[in-house]
């Protein structure tokens, strides 16, 4: 049955409430779990936000690309018996290439039309990819174990935490700063920012904006694929895993402000924590909390925490 992406990731600590006291240790663990969930949100929403900011496309297929990343990892590690690190390197490339093909042959055809056509197009692509995977791999989930060299736990002094989960936090931190540095400091990043501000002028100044768009979409897809690989070991690999995460990622970008990298990171972490801390206080409604939070942000600051006013509206 359909479950929230966030729910699938966070272990249910429902029995905790029966314990009758607030365990500080447990709260620490939940804070870290929130960071993990937040990391996946950040990786997904970074791609989504950069694609949106540059192309003006809300990529509904983003969740499907995330799922493709996880299935590619499953194929490489479980079916081909190769090392997890190979999957970690190959999956983003494969999903990135799929993204580039999608942009080149389908999405780029609709840039001149109102933005919602591309939204609907990617929605169709999402259904297609999802069902294709269901036909190829079967509708049930596939188990995916944590790679051996990252198994076990680390003693952090105040608590013991799984090694693999710590790695996710580190990799995300590294990637998020990488994307930020790339956009802000490099020449290519400057071109992308120019495309975001005014793609027509950038085009007129001799920049091949079509190629930049393709590249950006490929990069966003690669990030989604990477998120899929990273999440695979802590979540069952199943066809609907992306769709479940997609809506929550939308909430992240709405709260953070579409097109803003900083906003995505901030909102991703906030919402990750919100879900996992919600589990402490009222488990059944922890997923609902993020939508309430979104409603509050929409009332107080409709453009999102770090969004621009009337951006692609």
């Amino acid at each position: 049955m359909l479950r929230g992406g966030s729910e699938a990731l966070t272990p249910a600590f429902v029995s905790f409430l029966g314990m009758g006291f607030m365990d500080l240790h447990f709260i620490f663990i939940q804070l870290f779990n929130g960071l993990i969930l937040g990391s996946i949100y950040v990786l997904l929403s970074l791609g989504l936000t950069v694609i949106f900011g540059t192309l003006g496309v809300v990529n509904f297929a983003h969740g499907a690309l995330y799922m493709l990343g996880a299935y590619t990892a499953y194929s490489i590690v479980t079916l081909l018996n190769l090392h997890f690190l190979i999957a970690l390197l190959l999956c983003p490339v494969i999903v990135g290439i799929i993204g580039i093909l999608l942009e080149k042959f389908l999405i780029s055809k609709l840039y001149k039309l109102p933005h919602f056509y591309n939204l609907l197009l990617t929605f169709g692509i999402m259904f297609f990819i999802q069902d294709a995977i269901k036909i190829i791999y079967g509708p049930e989930g596939e188990p995916f174990n944590i790679p051996e060299f990252l198994g076990g736990a680390v003693n952090l002094g105040f608590m013991v935490y799984p090694k693999y989960r710590l790695c996710i936090i580190l990799v995300t931190g590294f990637l998020a700063s990488g994307v930020w540095l790339f956009i802000v400091k490099t020449k290519l990043g400057a071109i992308i920012r120019a495309g975001t501000d005014d793609s027509e002028i950038a085009d007129a100044l001799g920049i091949d904006i079509a190629r930049i768009f393709t590249l950006v979409f490929g990069m966003g897809a690669a990030l989604a694929g990477l998120a899929g690989v990273l999440a695979a070991p802590i979540q069952d690999v199943q066809p609907l895993m992306g769709m479940n995460f997609l809506v929550e990622t939308f909430v992240v970008v709405i709260v953070g402000g579409m097109g803003s990298i900083g906003g995505s990171i901030l909102a991703g972490l906030i919402i990750g924590e919100l879900v996992t801390l919600g589990i402490i206080f009222w488990p059944p409604m922890s997923t609902t909390l993020i939508y309430v939070f979104m409603a509050v942000v929409l009332i107080i600051r409709p453009r999102g925490l770090m969004g621009r006013v009337a951006f692609f509206e």
Binding site: L121, F123, G124, F127, V247, T288, I299, P302
Partner: protein
């Protein structure tokens, strides 16, 4: 509904005959009823999407709320079906107000994402609230109480019961879009800033349009419950929201008759394909992609423009 006056009389007669005998043409009678239910849904959706330009990705929420509202009323209170259905409509309408109010704060694609998020929220509440909704098993055992001397348990009778609501919806829909209010909605879709500068309050008009469209969705949901004797959890799901967008798009948005035909065609096609294969979503995705790349004005309009130049 711009039908050339020379053809319109014949068209209405033909459509009337078609609707009258539809349940005897379809493989089974409930399919004809289902086609009408989704036609009502798409017709209402067109008021928001086609006429006002509000691309809602969360209309399943109102369809499902209408379905659950009607189902729960029928189970817990012994009142006639039309009253139970109006309960469903009222619940959809009441929830559509706050959701519409919040979503309309963002325009365009943001609106689509916000409505989607709120629909998902309602989905999860229904999923978790097992004691009320039955969770993912759905709400079972919804009765079809007789309406005076009319026995709704017969599928044919139920079809004509639904047909009545369908015709009512068409009349209401036409009245709404041809009214000054409907023209204002079209004006908003074309140029919101201009509408504002003439003195219209876009937020208010958009909200009313959204709520009206949600009420149609609630009506469709209520009739769906009566038809199925059961409310599935997926009636609140993203697939239903996507279905109605596609029905409207394929039929031709902003035409009212287009979405009706689109809905009936898609429901029929889905049933036809489901009896052969289980790859409906794959086909649906493909249909989405193809229709957006080639039939943006709707199948009927595009075909007419290409082959019949009159």
């Amino acid at each position: 509904m711009k039908v050339n006056s020379k053809y319109s009389f014949g068209f209405i007669i033909l459509a009337g005959l078609f609707l009258l005998f539809l349940p005897f043409v379809t493989p089974y009678k409930a399919l004809a009823s289902q086609m009408l239910v989704f036609a009502i849904f798409a017709l209402g959706y067109d008021i928001a999407f086609g006429y006002t330009g509000l691309l809602s990705f969360g209309h399943a929420a109102f369809f499902g709320l209408g379905a659950y509202g009607t189902g729960l009323t029928l189970i817990h209170l012994s009142i006639p079906a039309p009253l139970a259905i109006s309960m469903g409509v009222i619940i959809s309408l009441l929830i559509a107000f706050p959701i519409g109010y919040l979503s309309i704060r963002r325009r365009g694609i943001y609106f689509a994402m916000v409505t989607l998020a709120f629909a998902q929220m309602i989905y999860f509440i229904a999923f978790k609230w097992r004691s009320l909704t039955g969770g993912d098993d759905g709400l079972h055992g919804v009765p079809r109480p007789p309406l005076g001397f009319i026995d709704l348990r017969s599928e044919v009778v139920l079809y004509y019961f639904i047909l009545f609501f369908f015709l009512l919806s068409i009349v209401l829909g036409i009245r709404i879009i041809r009214s000054p209010f409907g023209k204002t909605l079209e004006c908003l879709r074309e140029n919101e800033d201009r509408a504002r500068s003439i003195g219209y309050n876009p937020t208010r008009y958009k909200l009313i349009s959204f709520v009206i469209s949600a009420s149609f969705a609630g009506l469709a949901g209520g009739l769906y419950t009566l038809l199925q004797n059961f409310v599935p959890l997926f009636s609140l799901g993203l697939d239903i929201s996507g279905d109605v967008v596609l029905m409207t798009l394929i039929g031709g948005m902003g035409t009212l008759y287009g979405p009706i035909m689109g809905a009936m065609g898609l429901v029929y096609l889905k049933d036809l394909l489901s009896s052969y294969t289980n790859i409906w979503p794959l086909f649906l995705g493909l249909l989405f992609v193809v229709s957006i790349l080639t039939f943006r004005k709707g199948v009927f309009k595009e075909l007419k423009e290409r082959f019949l130049k009159f």
